[in-house]
Assembly symmetry: C2
Homo-oligomer: 256 residues x 2
DNA sequence: TGGTTAAGTAAGTATTTTATGAATTAGCCG
DNA sequence: CGGCTAATTCATAAAATACTTACTTAACCA
């Protein structure tokens, strides 16, 4: 849904030259404004009172807005308008654009934590566990574009807000420990011929899974192949699995 | 120099709470403003006339500004002030913030093209060639943070400007072809036991080299290990080389 | 030397955008 | 019902920001 929107806007954008004149007008922004303008019901009936719903809608809308435009590019006005509520409400519930952004980050991290807990890698054989980990990681990023985009922007801001939250720090060590144990078991059983540092391996898996998503547009422009197409992504999934497993099981030179 | 600045600002930023009140003030922005305020010489002597120098200074300053804040976060005012010239000059030479941004992208790509041409992979043995390619790619990203940052922002904008330039499309296919030949030679000689698609391998190399740079701040917050420290980066370099070479040379299962 | 061109300056303006003060009214509980 | 709380609206402040109009003056060349 989001991808379709992006492609459609790109299409609109490609033909006319950069901008005719005057102040910069972001075509993505204007398009999304118009797109949302029709949906939020008719104008004048007052909004029914439901603070939980309002807060949730604002968070959801803000997530999309920050994902699509980054912190600086995001407009509070667009957020409230897409919800259909008065701009004042945003400040009533969140205090500032900044605090809204932080709450979006926290909101987004609740998802991944829940999903990660369901992995249960210790019951599988080393090779199968590793395969599952790569597939899970790949699929998570592949199917959570908003997560990917919000994190990209947070890195643009040099992680200024994520260090404040405390929500993210918990429960990442268990995953690294689990990977350590898989590698140790694999080495002991002889199915793995190379030991790698667990954190390095995990970052590698994340890199293989997410880099083409983070950099899809420039890579596509550079190589002339659409790295964001479903076809390429499914090939990428197989490649990631294959590469990691081959690296662990194979070869005779090099250490890790 | 840039990294130091970032760390210093982060240090300032960590203690006081998000913002006291009022409109959002970006601490990085204010710091860099103050930092630059002292340098651009005394106020009132008129600027000596040198269009080339002025244009070059503006491009350079804009590159840093766009890298540090993204397109929307960048301020034309800061760019001209850090150069020490009148804001009108930016429009005199570039026309708009938007066109300035495009010219920065083109400027940045001239570097990498020049460096890539010096690779000369075909003379090396497959294993050595592959090692050199990984090391070169890693080192390029590692030592060109502005390139990395500008591209990250361009992806946030969904590659809206890079598709316009035409500068980037040339001479990327030769690299992919060279990689194809290396892999073919390696398979023929028996040093490689797995054939991979050249584009997949190259994206993989880029991913292993750049993902921790692109996502260093969030990953650092999540895992509590500074992935941007020199120590971690040098370990990362070895890991990337080892992983790719092991994947190519080793194992008996899986294809590519 | 004098005149043309363009580099640079001074001082804005129009617009956008975040944020607020204060009034209004819905909903809940006794 | 009546009154209290807080959800919502209205109108607007206040400041930033991209961009401009109108001008000055240095540099270059016939």
């Amino acid at each position: 849904m989001q991808g379709q929107h992006a492609e459609w806007v790109m299409e609109l954008w490609r033909d006319p030259p950069l901008s005719v004149m005057g102040r910069f007008r972001c075509p993505l922004c204007e398009a999304s404004e118009e797109g949302q303008m029709t949906s939020p019901a008719s104008k004048k009936q007052p909004r029914s009172r439901d603070p939980e719903r309002t807060k949730a809608q604002l968070t959801e809308s803000a997530m999309r807005e920050f994902a699509d435009h980054g912190f600086h590019g995001a407009r509070v006005d667009r957020i409230t308008r897409s919800v259909g509520c008065n701009p004042r409400l945003l400040y009533h519930y969140f205090g500032s654009k900044e605090k809204l952004y932080v709450s979006v980050i926290e909101y987004i991290f609740e998802d991944i934590r829940a999903q990660e807990r369901e992995l249960e890698l210790s019951r599988l054989e080393p090779l199968a566990a590793m395969r599952r980990l790569v597939e899970f990681t790949y699929d998570f990023f592949d199917s959570n574009p908003l997560f990917v985009k919000v994190l990209r922007n947070e890195n643009l801001l040099e992680g200024r807000f994520i260090v404040e939250t405390e929500v993210v720090r918990i429960s990442s060590q268990p995953l690294i420990d689990a990977i350590s144990r898989i590698i140790a078991r694999g080495l002991a059983q002889g199915v793995f011929r190379h030991g790698y540092d667990a954190l390095q391996i995990y970052i590698t898996i994340v890199a293989l899974s997410a880099h083409h998503l983070n950099n899809g547009h420039t890579l596509t422009a550079i190589f002339g192949v659409d790295l964001l197409s479903p076809e390429w992504r499914s090939k990428r999934r197989a490649h990631a699995v294959s590469l990691v497993l081959n690296a662990l099981t194979g070869g005779e030179s090099q250490q890790g």
